[in-house]
C-alpha cells in the first residue's frame, strides 16, 4: 500500500528523470543548426530556465506504461516542451508579465518584437522532432502524431482566443463552466490530454482508442491549472516564478475571480468591472490588493481549492476507468499519482 508521501516522491523522481532526458535531447535541437548565435541564445532562454517538465514526463511515462522503449517518445516529449515554451514566451508578452521562473521575461529584456519572433521560432522548431519521428517510428506513426499535434494546436489556439476575448471585451458575465471550457481547450489539451494521447499512440503503435483518456486528461489538467492560479495568489514574491498576484494584475479570469464577480455586491462588482476594463498600466496596487482581499473575504480562494479537489477526485476515478487494463509499473503509478500531486504541490 503506497503512502501519500511515497507517491509524491515517485512523482518528483519521475519528473526529474524524464525532465532531464528531455532537456538533454532538447539541447540537441536548440543547438543543432548553424544559425545566428545570438538568436540561438534567445531561443534557448526559456527552455533552459527549467520547470516541472510535467508534459514531457506524462508523454514519456504513458508511452512506457504501454510498453514502449524509453526513447520512443523522446522526440515527441521534446516537441511538447518546445511548444510549451513558445506559448510561455507569447503569453508573457500578452499578459505584460514581468517575471518568468525567477528571471525577467524575454520581452522585458529584449522587447516585444523579438519576443514574438522567438516564440515563433520555438513553435516552428517544435515540429522538427516530430518530423524526425518518421525515421524512428515510421512514417505512418509520425503522421498520426503530427495529426494529433495539429488537433492540439487548434484547441489551444481556440482556448487562448476565448480568454483573450474575455479580457479584450472586459467580459464579466462568466460562469465556472465557461472557465472550465476554456481551460479544457487552452491548457488541458497541450498539458495533459495530448501528451497522454501521444504516449498511448506510440506505446501501442496506434492500437488503442485515444479518446479513452480525454476525461482523465481534462480533470487532471483542470485541477493543475486551478492550482497554478491558486499558487499565484498564495505564494510569496519570487518563489512562484512570477510577480506577486500577477494574475490579478493581468486581469486573468481565474475561477477565484469568477467566484468573486458573482459573490460581490453591486458596487463592488462595478468597481471590479472598472479595474478589469482598464489596461494593466492603469491598474494600481491598491486595486490589486483590494481584489485579493475581497477574494479572501468572500471565500473565493477556498471555493477554488475545493473545486480543484473535486476535479482531482474525478481524475482519479477516470484513471481507474480508462487504465484498468494497463499492467502495473512505476510509470502507471506515476500517472495514477498525478491527480493528488497536481493539487498538493506548492
Amino acid at each position: 500500500m503506497r503512502t501519500a508521501t511515497d507517491s509524491a516522491v515517485l512523482v518528483r523522481e519521475k519528473l526529474a528523470e524524464y525532465g532531464a532526458a528531455t532537456q538533454a535531447r532538447m539541447r540537441e535541437y536548440l543547438r543543432g543548426r548553424p544559425r545566428n548565435p545570438e538568436f540561438e541564445e534567445l531561443i534557448a532562454d526559456y527552455p533552459q530556465r527549467g520547470g516541472w517538465a510535467l508534459r514531457a514526463s506524462l508523454c514519456l511515462a504513458t508511452a512506457r506504461a504501454f510498453g514502449a522503449y524509453p526513447t520512443d517518445a523522446l522526440n515527441s516529449a521534446v516537441a511538447i516542451e518546445l511548444l510549451h515554451n513558445a506559448f510561455l514566451v507569447h503569453d508573457d508578452v500578452e499578459d505584460e508579465s514581468e517575471e518568468r521562473r525567477g528571471r525577467p521575461t524575454l520581452h522585458q529584456r529584449h522587447g516585444v518584437p523579438t519576443a514574438i519572433n522567438v516564440g515563433d521560432a520555438l513553435a516552428i522548431l517544435s515540429l522538427r522532432p516530430l518530423i524526425d519521428n518518421a525515421g524512428t517510428l515510421g512514417v505512418r506513426l509520425a503522421l498520426r502524431i503530427l495529426e494529433e499535434a495539429e488537433r492540439m494546436a487548434h484547441e489551444s489556439v481556440e482556448g487562448q482566443s476565448l480568454e483573450l476575448a474575455w479580457r479584450q471585451h472586459n467580459v464579466v458575465e462568466l460562469r465556472e463552466v465557461d472557465y472550465l471550457q476554456m481551460v479544457l481547450k487552452k491548457t488541458c489539451w497541450y498539458t495533459t490530454i495530448y501528451p497522454m494521447r501521444i504516449g498511448a499512440l506510440i506505446g501501442t503503435r496506434d492500437g488503442v482508442e485515444l479518446d479513452r483518456y480525454l476525461r482523465f486528461g481534462f480533470f487532471v489538467g483542470a485541477a493543475f491549472q486551478i492550482q497554478d492560479d491558486l499558487l499565484n495568489l498564495l505564494e510569496d514574491e519570487g518563489r512562484y516564478g512570477k510577480e506577486r498576484y500577477g494574475d490579478i494584475w493581468e486581469g486573468k479570469r481565474t475561477l477565484m475571480l469568477i467566484h468573486l464577480l458573482h459573490a460581490a455586491s453591486t458596487e463592488e462588482r462595478a468597481r471590479l468591472s472598472r479595474v478589469l476594463g482598464v489596461s494593466r498600466a492603469e491598474r494600481t496596487s491598491e486595486d490589486v490588493s483590494w481584489i485579493r482581499e475581497r477574494m479572501e473575504e468572500y471565500g473565493s480562494i477556498d471555493y477554488a481549492r475545493q473545486i480543484a479537489h473535486g476535479l482531482a477526485g474525478a481524475a482519479q476515478h477516470e484513471f481507474s476507468v480508462a487504465c484498468a487494463d494497463l499492467p502495473d509499473s512505476p510509470d502507471k503509478r506515476f500517472m495514477e499519482a498525478l491527480p493528488t500531486w497536481v493539487i498538493e504541490r506548492s
Binding site: 471585451h169 460562469r175 463552466v177 472598472r274 482598464v278 492603469e282
Partner: protein, 724 residues
C-alpha cells in the same frame, strides 16, 4: 436605484411604437413614478404597432400583417393590456370593446392537420388542463417550476395518454390521471426502481404506466439525481412502451398520434437526463446549440415522431425555417422546449386567445389613448436613420460610451407643428386607418398623389431631417425598432462593437406572407364541418389557417360575410443584393398574390371541398369584393376577383420575423446590458429571457428596458424571466 438629484424629469426617447416600445412607455409613465420620466415615442408612418399594426380598409375591413394569436401563457402581455383597459375606462354603452374581456376571446388548440394513411387530411386535437385563473391575473402566480417539475408534468401527460390506449372508447373523456403512488423516501424510491430494473421487462402497458409514475415522482422530488440509474430505468421503460405500441399504430390513426406525443416526451425526458439539464445552471439554454428536432432524435425519438404533424405545427407557428427555406426547419432546442412547456403546461384560460378586432384596434389604440392621457408625446412620420455614438477620444476615464445623437428622416409635417391625430372612428371604436390622413399633412394632396409609401423601407422621400442630441432633446434612448432594421440604423455600433456585429450576423429574421379572405357563405357551406379552428402544419405555402369569422360584424359590410379566413406562413428569402432593388417590394407583393391564387386553386380543396366546382375550379364568386359588396355576380369574375381580397408580403426589414436559430441566442443583447450607458435595446430580437419571436418576448423586453432605467418593475415581477 440612483437618487434623483435633478429637478426636472429625465427625457426618454423611445424609437419604435411596437409592442416593446409601447410597453416601455407604459412602464416608465406609471403614476407611481410620479413623472420622473418624460417619454416621447418616435414612429415612422402613421400608425403604431410595428409588426402588430393593423388598419381599416374598404368596408372598414381589418387588414393585418398576419395572424396574431395570443397564447394563454403570455402573462406579461395580458397583465399590461388588462391594466391598460382598466385605466382606459371606456364606456360600454358607447363602445363595443370596453373591457379587456370584450377584446380577447378564449380559443382552444384544436387543429393540427394530419395526413392519414387513407389519403385524407384530418385535424386532431390535444387537450391539456389549464392553470387556474386568467392570464395576467395580478399577483404573479407563475409557480417556480424547475425542469424536473416540467418533466414530471410531461410524464403525467404520458401516463394519461397511455391510459386512453387501454380504454379505447372514442369520445370518452380521458380519466384524470391518478397521482402516482408515493413510495416514501427518495432512497426507497430509487430502491424500487433498481429492483424493477433487475426483474426485467415491463410486460404490460399497465406496468409501464406504473413505472412512469415512479419516474414522475423521482423527477418531481429528488434533489440529487442519480442520472445513470434514471436513464437506465427510463430506457427500459421506453423499450417496453415501444414494444407495446409498434404493433398497434400502423393501422390506427388515433394511436399513432398518441404515440408520437408519447415518443416525443420520452425523448425529451431522456435528453434532459443525459444532458444533465436538471442541475445545469443554464437550464434549457444549455442545449441551444442544437436544433430541437435533431436533439430529440439524438435522444431516441423516431423519424416518424420528429416528422409528426404536431411538431411540424410548432415549427410552422413560429416560422422556424432558416431563410424561409422550408427544407431547413431550425429552432434552438432549449428555447423550443421552454416555449412548448410554457405553452402547454402553464397556460391560463385557454391555449389561444383571439382578438375581436384588428390587433391595432385591440391593443395599440387603447395604449395610445392611455399614454396620451399620461402625457406621452408621439412623433409620427419620424423614421430613424442613424444612431450616432460619441467620439471615444472624448470619454472621461471610466466613462462608458454613449449615444450622442439620433438622426431622423421626417417623412411628413403637420401644419403649424401640431400633433398628428392618428385614430379614426369606426362606429364608436377608435381604430387605425389603412392609410394616413393626408388632410392633416402639409402638402397632403401631393403626397397622396405621388403615393408616398411611408411604411416602406424602399421609400426614401422625405420632407426634412431632424437630429436629436443628448442632453438637449433626450437623455436616454430605448431602441425598440424591429430586429431586421438594426443593420440599417446601427452602422456605427456595428463598426465599433464586435458584439453588435455578431448579433446582426447571428440573430436572423425571415419575411412572411399572409392573405385574408372574405366569403359570402359560411364555413359549413364551404365544406368545413368541424368547429372553428386554428389549423397548422398544412400544406405549403400557407400552412396556418385561422377561422376569423367572428370579425364579420366588426367590419362595416352592408351584408356581413359568412366567413373570414386568415392564412399565413413564412416566405422564402431572397439574396440580400436582390432585396435592395426598388422594384423588390412590388415583386414580392405580386409573388404572394400568385402564391395565394395557386393555394386557392389547388390546396384548399382538401379542407373546403364545397368551395370548388365539380370540374375542380375554385368558386371565385364566393369572395366578397368591398367595392361591389352586394351580389355575387357584381365585380370581377374568375381569378381576377382575388384582387379584391387582402394579402401582404412582409418584406420590410422591420417587419421580418425574428428567428431563434440554434447557436444564435447567445449573440443576443439584453435590455439590461449597460455597455452604452444611455442606450437600451428592446424587442423580441433581444435577450429577453424568452428568446422567441412573439408578443410576450417583446413585452418582457420592454419591461426589462424600463427596469434598466428606473428599477421598476422588479425583475422578479416579470413573469417567466427567472425560469428554466
Amino acid at each position: 436605484m440612483q437618487a434623483m438629484t435633478r429637478q426636472h424629469p429625465v427625457e426618454i426617447a423611445i424609437v419604435g411604437g411596437g409592442c416593446a416600445g409601447i410597453t416601455a412607455a407604459f412602464e416608465l409613465t406609471r403614476p407611481e413614478l410620479r413623472g420622473q420620466y418624460r417619454v416621447t415615442v418616435y414612429q415612422l408612418g402613421w400608425r403604431l404597432g410595428g409588426k402588430g399594426a393593423s388598419g381599416r380598409g374598404p368596408a372598414d375591413r381589418i387588414q393585418e400583417h398576419g395572424l396574431h394569436l395570443w397564447m394563454g401563457f403570455y402573462e406579461n402581455a395580458f397583465r399590461l393590456i388588462r391594466e391598460c383597459y382598466a385605466e382606459l375606462k371606456r364606456d360600454p354603452a358607447t363602445c363595443r370593446i370596453a373591457d379587456w374581456s370584450d377584446a380577447f376571446v378564449p380559443d382552444h388548440f384544436n387543429g393540427v392537420a394530419d395526413w392519414s394513411p387513407d389519403g385524407r387530411w384530418s385535424p386532431w386535437t390535444v387537450q391539456l388542463p389549464p392553470f387556474e385563473g386568467l392570464p395576467g391575473d395580478p399577483g404573479n402566480a407563475l409557480p417556480r417550476w424547475t425542469i424536473g417539475d416540467y418533466l414530471a408534468r410531461s410524464l403525467e401527460l404520458v401516463r394519461t395518454l397511455l391510459a386512453t390506449v387501454q380504454e379505447p372508447a372514442p369520445g370518452a373523456a380521458p380519466e384524470a390521471p391518478q397521482p402516482p403512488k408515493s413510495t416514501g423516501t427518495p432512497e426507497a424510491l430509487l430502491e424500487t426502481m433498481s429492483r424493477l430494473l433487475e426483474y426485467g421487462r415491463f410486460a404490460t402497458l399497465a406496468a409501464v404506466v406504473e413505472a412512469l409514475g415512479l419516474m414522475e415522482v423521482a423527477l418531481a422530488t429528488l434533489r440529487r439525481y442519480p442520472e445513470n440509474l434514471l436513464i437506465r430505468f427510463h430506457d427500459a421503460v421506453v423499450t417496453a412502451v415501444r414494444g407495446q405500441f409498434e404493433k398497434l399504430i400502423e393501422s390506427n390513426d388515433r394511436l399513432r398520434r398518441v404515440w408520437e406525443i408519447v415518443d416525443m416526451m420520452l425523448a425529451i425526458i431522456r435528453g434532459a437526463l443525459r444532458f444533465r439539464l436538471l442541475t445545469d445552471p443554464r437550464g434549457f439554454d444549455a442545449i441551444d446549440d442544437y436544433d430541437c428536432r435533431e436533439w430529440m432524435r439524438l435522444n431516441g425519438a423516431s423519424e416518424r415522431t420528429i416528422n409528426s404533424a404536431f411538431i411540424r405545427a410548432l415549427y410552422d407557428l413560429t416560422f422556424a425555417y432558416e431563410d424561409g427555406d422550408l427544407s431547413r426547419p431550425r429552432v434552438a432546442a432549449g428555447q423550443g422546449l421552454r416555449a412548448a412547456f410554457r405553452a402547454f403546461f402553464t397556460y391560463r384560460g385557454a391555449f389561444f386567445w383571439k382578438m375581436r378586432s384588428g390587433m391595432g384596434d385591440v391593443v395599440f389604440a387603447p395604449f395610445y389613448e392611455v399614454l396620451k392621457r399620461r402625457g406621452v408625446r408621439f412623433e409620427f412620420f419620424h423614421r430613424l436613420e442613424n444612431v450616432k455614438l460619441c467620439d471615444p477620444a472624448h470619454l472621461a476615464p471610466g466613462e462608458r460610451p454613449f449615444v450622442e445623437a439620433l438622426e431622423f428622416d421626417v417623412q411628413a409635417a403637420i401644419p403649424g407643428g401640431g400633433e398628428y391625430q392618428p385614430l379614426v372612428d369606426v362606429r364608436g371604436l377608435p381604430c387605425w386607418p389603412a392609410a394616413p390622413d393626408y388632410r392633416q399633412l402639409v402638402e397632403g394632396e401631393r403626397l397622396e398623389q405621388e403615393e408616398w409609401k411611408f411604411e416602406s423601407h424602399w421609400e426614401r422621400r422625405k420632407v426634412g431631417t431632424r437630429t436629436l442630441r443628448v442632453g438637449k432633446d433626450f437623455d436616454l434612448v430605448i431602441l425598440a425598432v424591429g430586429g431586421g432594421a438594426i443593420p440599417f440604423l446601427c452602422k456605427e455600433l456595428m463598426e465599433r462593437d464586435p458584439r453588435w456585429r455578431a448579433m446582426v450576423e447571428r440573430v436572423k429574421t425571415v419575411p412572411t406572407q399572409a392573405c385574408q379572405l372574405w366569403m359570402n357563405t359560411d364555413m359549413k357551406e364551404l365544406g368545413w364541418s368541424h368547429a372553428p379552428v386554428n389549423l397548422c402544419a398544412f400544406v405549403k405555402p400557407f400552412d396556418t389557417w385561422a377561422d376569423m369569422s367572428h370579425l364579420a360584424t366588426e367590419e362595416s359590410w352592408p351584408r356581413p360575410p359568412g366567413a373570414l379566413a386568415y392564412f399565413c406562413s413564412v416566405l422564402q428569402d431572397v439574396p440580400e443584393e436582390e432585396r435592395a432593388r426598388p422594384a423588390f417590394p412590388e415583386e414580392q407583393h405580386e409573388r404572394v398574390r400568385r402564391n395565394s391564387v395557386r393555394f386557392l386553386e389547388k390546396d384548399l380543396a382538401h379542407l373546403w371541398p364545397r368551395a370548388y366546382r365539380e370540374s375542380g375550379g375554385f368558386r371565385w364568386e364566393l369572395l366578397m369584393d368591398p367595392s361591389a359588396p352586394h351580389g355575387e355576380s357584381a365585380g370581377e369574375a374568375g381569378e381576377a376577383r382575388f384582387a379584391s381580397q387582402y394579402w401582404t408580403a412582409n418584406v420590410n426589414p422591420s417587419d421580418r420575423y425574428t428567428l431563434s436559430l440554434p447557436g444564435s441566442l447567445r449573440a443576443r443583447i439584453s435590455p439590461l446590458d449597460n455597455t452604452y450607458d444611455n442606450l437600451t435595446v428592446a424587442g423580441d430580437w433581444t435577450d429577453s429571457g424568452f428568446n422567441q419571436g412573439c408578443v410576450e418576448a417583446a413585452v418582457m423586453s420592454g419591461r426589462l428596458a424600463a427596469h434598466a432605467i428606473s428599477g421598476a418593475p422588479k425583475l422578479e415581477e416579470i413573469a417567466g424571466f427567472d425560469h428554466p
